[in-house]
């Protein structure tokens, strides 16, 4: 029999039940592998911290969601929201699955084109589209959703100079009972602004309106909001078709479906409060089939990002130091912080450890590596006493983190992909000094020669 390890005695507040504002009680969360590849092997190959994506999970998530829609409505197209995660490998997987690209800037447009996505398979959204990017998008036949009156003018001018009639969509916003209402994007429906935009387009005679775009918000937990959105969009589409003679070929309902992630300030676990993809699909498609006229199946475009990629991403991080705070809380310093985990501002992540650790779990804080007070990955989590070198696996982190991460204080780490075949592929190399210095210019007179 092995002798029990000595543990320093601590005073621990008695807690009842599993759920309270400090989070769940500690349920043995151990993860030794992702898709059958051990954490040790991953770290050995590409170090810690490291983002790891699962191709299997990504494709599964996409197919599941796609099927729940395509089995309910005959004309469905998913547009991959680049801002959610525009790593080439991730985009390529989803394009191969059949998604088109949904971009919201010149940079994202160029990135999609560079990856090999043809212009007609790009949906160009966003409030800030430069003239040069609009010109390119028009020439290449991209789907453009107009955000404001100035953009109508821009596109009309470009259409004139290109001497062609171009098809465009407009973005509208509306009240679906969701707060905050995203009224800063597009034309408001209830105030009649959207109708003005249609009149303006019809009056200009250079553009052909063929689509409507709307995005009611993000992390929407109420499927009925989408029913309402669809109903209003379909009615508006028929108003346009009947009064202006345009044919609305697509209804782009944006994204906003939640992933199975725990929001801060919501106590119930995601399994309980987050409706499934099926629920959203049923609300959306049944409303479409109910409201549309016979034999009219405009393309339903969905720009779901988070619900597809979030759960396919993991971050491996390592305990670097252990501290005891003055108030008695245990604290850990790990090698990844808010510089890499933008979503930590609103998510309470699922944090797993890579090994069995003896000892009584107690509330602990996880700090990131930055020399900044805000760098807190987790304010309170029940953990047994973790020794230095323990790996923590944080998930789901696939959405928004690898686009909104910062090169701040530290380099950005490697990103790897576990393929369906179980192979480990490096899809983004860890940054080096050259990556950062490459763009910098030091004026001649500031050159330092301190060593002499």
């Amino acid at each position: 029999m092995v002798k029990k390890k000595y543990e320093k005695p601590v005073i621990k507040k008695l807690q009842m039940g599993f759920m309270n504002k400090f989070g769940r009680g500690y349920l043995s969360h151990i993860r030794q592998a992702i898709d059958g590849v051990s954490i040790d092997k991953l770290v050995e190959m590409y170090g810690s911290p490291q983002f790891v994506f699962s191709e299997k999970r990504l494709r599964q998530n996409y197919r599941r969601l796609y099927n729940s829609f395509s089995n309910r409505y005959p004309n469905v197209q998913f547009g991959w929201s680049y801002k959610t995660n525009y790593l080439n490998a991730i985009c390529a997987i989803l394009h191969k699955e059949g998604e088109v690209a949904e971009v919201v800037s010149e940079f994202e447009y160029e990135k999609a084109r560079n990856l090999g996505v043809p212009g007609h398979k790009i949906i160009f959204n966003g409030p800030f589209k430069t003239i040069s990017s609009l010109k390119r998008a028009l020439e290449e036949g991209a789907i453009i959703n107009i955000d404001h009156f100035e953009e109508i003018q821009d596109i009309e001018r470009l259409a004139q100079s290109l001497n062609k009639k171009v098809k465009v969509g407009i973005r509208i916003n509306m009240d679906t009972g969701i707060v905050p209402q995203w009224s800063r994007f597009g034309f408001n429906l209830e105030s009649g602004q959207a109708l003005d935009a249609v009149k303006r387009i019809a009056y200009g005679k250079r553009l052909v309106l063929n689509g409507l775009h709307c995005h009611i918000g993000t992390f929407i937990l109420e499927p009925k909001a989408y029913s309402l959105e669809i109903e209003k969009m379909v009615n508006f589409a028929y108003q346009i078709e009947d009064d202006f003679g345009f044919k609305i070929e697509y209804l782009d309902i944006g994204g906003g479906f939640p992933s199975k992630n725990r929001l801060k300030g919501i106590y119930l676990p995601p399994e309980v409060i987050i409706p499934s993809g099926e629920d959203f699909a049923e609300a959306i498609c049944d409303t479409l089939l109910r409201c549309l006229r016979p034999n009219d199946f405009p393309k339903l475009i969905l720009e779901t990002g988070r619900a597809i990629v979030d759960e396919a991403g993991y971050l491996i991080t390592t305990v670097h130091a252990i501290k005891r705070m003055p108030d008695g809380l245990r604290a850990y310093v790990v090698d990844a912080g808010v510089n890499l985990l933008f979503t930590s501002f609103w998510y309470k992540f699922n944090i797993e450890i890579d090994r069995e650790v003896q000892g009584i779990p107690e509330p602990s804080i996880i700090y990131g590596p930055l020399c900044m007070n805000i760098d807190v990955v987790e304010e309170s989590i029940n953990l047994p006493p973790l020794p230095r070198g323990t790996r923590l696996i944080i998930s789901p982190v696939g959405a928004y983190n690898v686009t909104q991460w910062m090169q701040f204080i530290n380099y950005r780490p490697a990103v790897s992909l576990i393929t369906i075949e179980g192979k480990i592929e490096l899809i983004r190399e860890p940054e080096t000094l050259d990556d950062i210095l490459g763009k910098e210019k030091l004026p001649q007179k500031l050159q330092l020669n301190l060593e002499d």
Partner: protein, 690 residues
């Protein structure tokens, strides 16, 4: 005489041998002038019949139907055979011509109305018998038959008996029982149709051998001129009324054998009156066989005869490969990808009268219909999925209150569960059943369009797991026998397009919905034109003007110079059907490049089609393949594979002919460019003037 009439009259000569076209007709016409007496008599008889028809107010339709022209022709030939032409004989022939017209017209109507049978040459038999009987009293007519020209007889004795018999009886069809005439006729038949040639020979020898066996004397049976009946029966049954195939050939020979009894019997009676039997055995035996096969719905019965057996065969072979579906066409009654759980004549319940039914479920990549253990209905992928109307029609019955069974259990009391029965005005009912309790969104009496949401997939009735059952029936009562149907416009997960077909058990299908813009693009109004320049190896050759026309059967075609390119748009697919009249390389190129076009675009969508032999092959090879394919149908399979490169570009390949094609559709209407590459030759059709 206008060429139109000339051609029609010449055509009637060809129709005696079931051929169409004035060229073989001209050859036969010239042939009859071996004995000018006969030739002129035939012509006079046709012309009088025609003049009389004109007098009665019947115009072109007299000439357009073979029966009206070739019956008087045969009567004229038969009289010319017997009597020397003089004023009186001409008058006699004219009278007989008018009588033939009257008899033909009445019989043709009676036969087609009561029996759905062609009148063949029965009027000729009747009128010729009457004429011969009457003539036996008219001693004023100059009998010619006594003065048979004898210049051939010198070397006839050197030829084998069977050859003499064959050629003479063949010649006897035109009342020219000479070796010389027979050889010419045989040559013409060989030139026009190898299948006819084989049938004629096989028919002749089968008949004479059987007669020889019965009578004990082959030489006697070879000498009987009436053997031409065997030839005609074999040609008519094996090559005209049935689609040429080993089975049809066999039936033709059976008919020949049975006719030998008939022939001898009739001959016995007719001889009493000094009459030849003419084509009576041929007429009655052929009609009898066709009548029986028609009633039985014999599958090889040809609905269209395309001028020669080869063309009929080509039409039917490609028709069967190209159009495997039925005319009871349904859209898939759902959206997205589903799997056939139980197909037609399935292993569980689709048996006997209910064999024409299909059950659908949704499966995952492993082929499972549920996730986790599948204990809960919610875990089944197809549960609660929308069911859409597969046809436009009226809702005649709705059941909406049968509870859904737990997984693994069935309701034996209410087999069909919750259901919707739709009546399609094309004359059939579509049943959709096992729907979710309370989910049905339509009411009895309501009109629904295709694709309308009618309910959700459930697990009610005789259903151990959620699935959708679809079948078609002819009356509104539940439980009546089912009938064949097929689905239009779907694809497999590998993106293979199916225009109209029935998926097999285990097959995954994805419903497609028509694309209005593509549909508009391929809608051609009458007299609408497309102009092309034809470039061969980049050198402009000719101009093509394609004009949309409709023929008297209501079929649409592009008129291109003298040729016709038949096309049609049916249930979401655009088809080119066939080429008629002059077949030029440009038209072949057009046909091979786009024999069908799905009126729906999906990226990577591809499809196959089978091209008619007359479109892709030429010369000797075409003839050999057509002859061979009457024995081995797969020889006629010329498969083209086509694929969308973009919403308006289609590439194609015919591997058998190492031929590659490319089509670009016009942004607004029709086709913009067609390219066909074969070994060393490139034909391009470039749209002009748009």
């Amino acid at each position: 005489m206008r060429p139109k009439y000339l051609k029609a009259v010449l055509n009637s000569y060809a129709e005696i041998f079931f051929l169409q076209g004035y060229l073989p007709g001209l050859a036969f016409f010239l042939c009859t002038f071996i004995n000018p007496n006969i030739g002129i008599a035939g012509l006079i008889c046709v012309l009088t019949a025609y003049l009389f028809a004109l007098f009665l107010g019947m115009k072109d339709d007299f000439l357009s139907s073979g029966f009206y022209t070739y019956n008087p022709l045969l009567v004229g030939l038969s009289i010319g055979y017997l009597f020397k032409l003089d004023f009186l004989t001409v008058f006699f022939i004219a009278t007989a011509g008018i009588l033939t017209f009257i008899v033909t017209y009445s019989l043709a109507n009676i036969f087609s109305y009561y029996f759905h049978l062609p009148v063949l040459s029965l009027p000729f038999v009747i009128v010729s018998c009457i004429a011969y009987l009457a003539a036996s009293q008219y001693s004023n007519l100059f009998v010619n038959g006594l003065y048979v020209p004898s210049f051939f007889n010198l070397w006839e004795s050197k030829l084998p008996l069977w050859f003499l018999g064959l050629t003479k009886s063949l010649g006897a069809i035109f009342f020219l029982p000479h070796v010389f005439a027979g050889v010419i006729l045989l040559g013409i038949i060989l030139a026009v149709s190898r299948i006819f040639f084989l049938l004629a020979i096989a028919g002749y020898f089968t008949g004479t051998l059987v007669v020889g066996l019965f009578t004990g004397s082959l030489s006697q049976s070879f000498q009987s001129l009436n053997a031409f009946n065997f030839i005609l029966i074999a040609m008519a049954i094996g090559g005209v009324f049935l689609i040429p195939s080993p089975k049809s050939y066999f039936l033709a020979l059976i008919a020949v054998v049975t006719s030998s009894l008939f022939l001898e019997a009739v001959k016995g009676i007719w001889m009493q009156y000094g009459l030849p039997v003419f084509t009576l055995p041929f007429n009655l035996i052929t009609m009898g066989f066709i009548y029986v096969m028609g009633i039985l719905g014999y599958p090889y019965l040809a609905k269209f005869y395309r001028g020669t057996p080869e063309r009929t065969l080509d039409h039917y072979l490609t028709y069967n490969y190209r159009f495997p579906g039925s005319s009871r066409t349904l859209c898939l009654p759902f959206s997205g990808e589903w799997t056939v759980w139980q197909g037609i004549k399935g292993r569980w319940t689709h048996k006997g009268p209910w064999q024409y039914a299909i059950d659908f479920v949704i499966t995952d990549e492993q082929g499972k219909t549920f996730e986790n253990e599948g204990k809960d209905l919610e875990q089944y992928y197809c549960f609660r999925k929308p069911i859409l109307a597969p046809v436009r029609g009226r809702v005649v019955k709705v059941v909406n209150d049968i509870p859904d069974n737990p997984a693994g259990e069935v309701n034996k009391e209410h087999n069909w569960g919750n259901l919707v029965l739709l009546y399609d005005e094309r004359g059939f009912y579509v049943l959709l059943c096992h729907l979710l309790q309370g989910s049905i969104k339509v009411k009895e009496g309501e009109w629904v369009e295709r694709g309308k949401l009618i309910g959700l997939c459930g697990n009610s009735g005789y259903s151990p797991q959620p699935h959708l059952h679809v079948h078609v029936q002819l009356t509104p009562t539940l439980g009546v026998p089912t009938v064949p149907f097929s689905f239009i416009q779907y694809m497999s997960p590998e993106k293979v397009y199916f225009a109209n077909q029935l998926p097999l058990e285990g097959q995954r299908v994805i419903a497609l919905y028509p694309d209005k813009s593509l549909d508009m693009k391929m809608t051609f109004l009458l007299d609408e034109k497309m102009d092309f320049v034809v470039l061969v190896n980049n050198v402009p050759k000719t101009n093509l003007e394609m004009k949309t026309k409709m023929d008297s059967n209501g079929e649409f075609y592009f008129e291109i110079n003298e040729s016709r390119l038949y096309f049609g748009k049916w249930e979401g697919t655009f088809y080119l059907y066939r080429l008629e009249n002059k077949i030029t390389p440009e038209l072949k190129a057009l046909f091979t490049a786009l024999p069908r076009l799905p009126l729906v675009f999906k990226e990577g969508l591809h499809w196959e089609d089978f091209l008619p032999i007359h479109v892709v092959l030429g010369g000797l090879r075409k003839h050999m393949v057509l002859l061979g394919s009457s024995f081995f149908p797969s020889m006629a399979k010329v498969k083209g594979e086509y694929r969308f490169l973009s919403p308006d570009e289609i590439s194609g390949e015919i591997k058998e002919l190492s031929l590659k094609t490319y089509v670009k559709l016009h942004p607004i209407k029709g086709i913009e460019r067609v390219e066909v590459n074969t070994k060393g030759q490139k034909i391009v059709l470039r749209r002009e003037g748009v």
